[in-house]
């Protein structure tokens, strides 16, 4: 049985700054606190979330978040046994702030430092929330990411496919923008789709005719734009019903693609313990039902961690750090921030994950 351990996690790789305290207690890991200072309430007039990309903004918030996480957990700094931090991938300014803060804390405390891959944090979340065992298949949909991962261990990930252009959340945001719905688009499009006829518009199912698990959503957005413009040209505008039908058709197309590709990803994987879906996609009832059915058809349990632990958070970083600690990883002051850091280093080089990012 793993030794008891209290670990502090830091996350600052994109829009949010987070800190969390997690404790290993026998077989379980318990989240003692998980705080996030989010910029997502700063929705801009131009329909999206304005990112706080400035490194100094993360740097200013990190120590406050750490204090808050410790206070909420009822833990003092000297009681922390290890410090885990997102070391990439992400916007380099934010990642760097987190890594520097973690180095300072680890050095000051004389405790181990662990650099965590942000995507590994997401991919290991089902182990934290649902006690999932390896190996499992993961559909990871978060921010700009959308990929199928086979997870065989805390450091063993195999990427089976992913989006070659837009991520689904992005496609929802853009469709909402096209149809005059507020941001974020996911819940708005889903709500409008409820009263719509998904069969009225003939929208494409991109890449379904091709082998493999890659996905594409950019063309679907363009198809919605075209259908919208045709309606505007023919009748001078859109009715509520037109919009509902467009939303329903779009959602049905995305559901078909996600379900079809998920079924394909599960094929030939041998014995898996389950199919996990992380990210906003699991918040959509239609997708959830379809993906649940795909898992059931493969005879596997379907797991969708709570949304708060699917968006960027530090608890997942602390947990991934905990697992890395248990397999003996230790980083030191040479730990560097990596803007690009593919999870699956063995896969054919993904040209899209170029070696260098901004300010590499």
């Amino acid at each position: 049985m793993p030794l008891p351990l209290t670990i502090l996690g830091l996350e600052s790789s994109c829009d949010d700054t987070g800190a969390a305290v997690l404790r290993r207690d026998g077989d379980r890991a318990v989240i003692l606190s998980n705080v996030v200072a989010s910029q997502t309430d700063l929705h801009a007039a131009f329909g999206g979330v304005v990112p706080e990309i400035a490194a100094r903004a993360h740097a200013e918030k990190l120590d406050i978040m750490v204090e808050q996480a410790l206070a909420e957990a009822g833990v003092t700094l000297p009681e922390i046994d290890a410090v885990a931090v997102t070391a990439g991938p992400g916007l380099i300014g934010g990642v760097l702030s987190g890594v520097m803060a973690a180095k300072g804390l680890a050095m000051g405390l004389g405790k181990p430092l662990l650099g965590v891959n942000h995507l590994a944090g997401h991919a290991l979340t089902p182990v934290l929330t649902d006690g999932m065992r390896f190996p499992y298949l993961m559909l990871l949909v978060s921010g700009g990411h959308c990929q199928f991962l086979r997870v065989d261990g805390p450091q063993e990930f195999r990427r089976l496919g992913g989006t070659i252009d837009d991520a689904p959340g992005e496609a929802f945001d853009k469709v909402a923008r096209l149809l005059g719905l507020p941001q974020p688009g996911g819940p708005e499009v889903e709500r409008a789709a409820k009263s719509g006829d998904p069969a009225r518009f003939d929208l494409p199912r991109p890449l379904m005719d091709r082998p493999g698990c890659d996905l594409s959503f950019s063309g679907l957005k363009t198809a919605v734009l075209r259908a919208r413009d045709d309606l505007v040209a023919a009748q001078g505008g859109l009715s509520e019903q037109d919009r509902a039908d467009l939303c329903a058709g779009f959602q049905a197309a995305v559901a078909d693609v996600l379900a079809g590709k998920s079924a394909r990803a599960l094929e030939g994987q041998g014995a898996l313990t389950g199919f996990a879906v992380a990210g906003g996609v699991a918040a959509n009832a239609t997708f959830r039902a379809r993906l649940d059915a795909v898992a059931a058809a493969a005879g596997l349990p379907f797991v969708a961690p709570p949304l708060a632990l699917c968006t960027d958070n530090a608890a997942m970083i602390a947990f991934a750090g905990l697992l890395l600690h248990e397999v003996g990883q230790r980083d030191d002051l040479t730990l560097s921030a990596r803007p690009r850091w593919p999870l699956d280093t063995a896969a054919a080089p993904l040209i899209g994950s170029g070696k260098k990012g901004a300010k590499a």
């Binding site: 916007l91 070659i164 170029g354 901004a358």
Partner: protein, 181 residues
């Protein structure tokens, strides 16, 4: 028919800075023509060149950028994964012609964040493709050109491309044949 929906007005595209002129332009028959334009421009690009891509949602900015990045990467670019930079703001690629930065400034709040993204330095050393340059107008780099993609009324498939550049732009001269063809 039930109550009509007021669709959002497309945001105005920023005017080019003073001293910039229309260098060339032509019609593009469809998405494949947009990609062909990108492939025709690719061979003349070198490190330090910046192309600003202007146009509404769905105009083909990312489509153009993907085709250009694939062309610059050569054979391995054919099946390359080129994710949208809308969330990540910047995606970087390596190519024989040098590093390529693909950026989307749509979510950017303050023009000063260009420095945080490393784009100011990249514009000197890399090939930069920048969507939504409207966010930094009128401070467009003097070494850049702008390709504006517009959809003619009543022709959903077609696009009009216009190349804008500072007078005497070397990059515009190199791209002229491809854009005016």
């Amino acid at each position: 028919m039930s109550r009509a929906i007021i669709l959002p007005e497309d945001p105005d595209l920023a005017a080019a800075p003073a001293g910039w002129v229309v260098v060339a332009g032509r019609a593009l028959a469809g998405p494949e023509a947009t990609a062909a334009l990108a492939r025709a421009i690719a061979p003349v690009l070198r490190a330090g060149d910046t192309i600003l891509l202007q146009g509404q949602l769905g105009a083909g900015k990312s489509h153009f950028a993907r085709a250009l990045i694939r062309a610059l990467m050569g054979p391995e670019g054919e099946c390359a994964e080129i994710p949208s930079p809308t969330f990540t703001l910047v995606q970087a690629y390596d190519s024989a012609a040098g590093e390529i930065f693909h950026a989307d400034l749509y979510r950017m709040g303050d023009p000063g964040e260009l420095v945080e993204l490393g784009l100011d330095a990249a514009m000197e050393e890399a090939i930069c493709l920048i969507e939504w340059p409207d966010r930094i107008a009128p401070d467009w780099p003097a070494t850049a050109i702008c390709l504006r993609l517009e959809t003619p009324v009543g022709a959903a498939e077609r696009r009009e491309v216009t190349m804008l550049a500072p007078e005497g732009s070397d990059l515009a001269a190199r791209c002229h044949v491809a854009v005016a063809a």
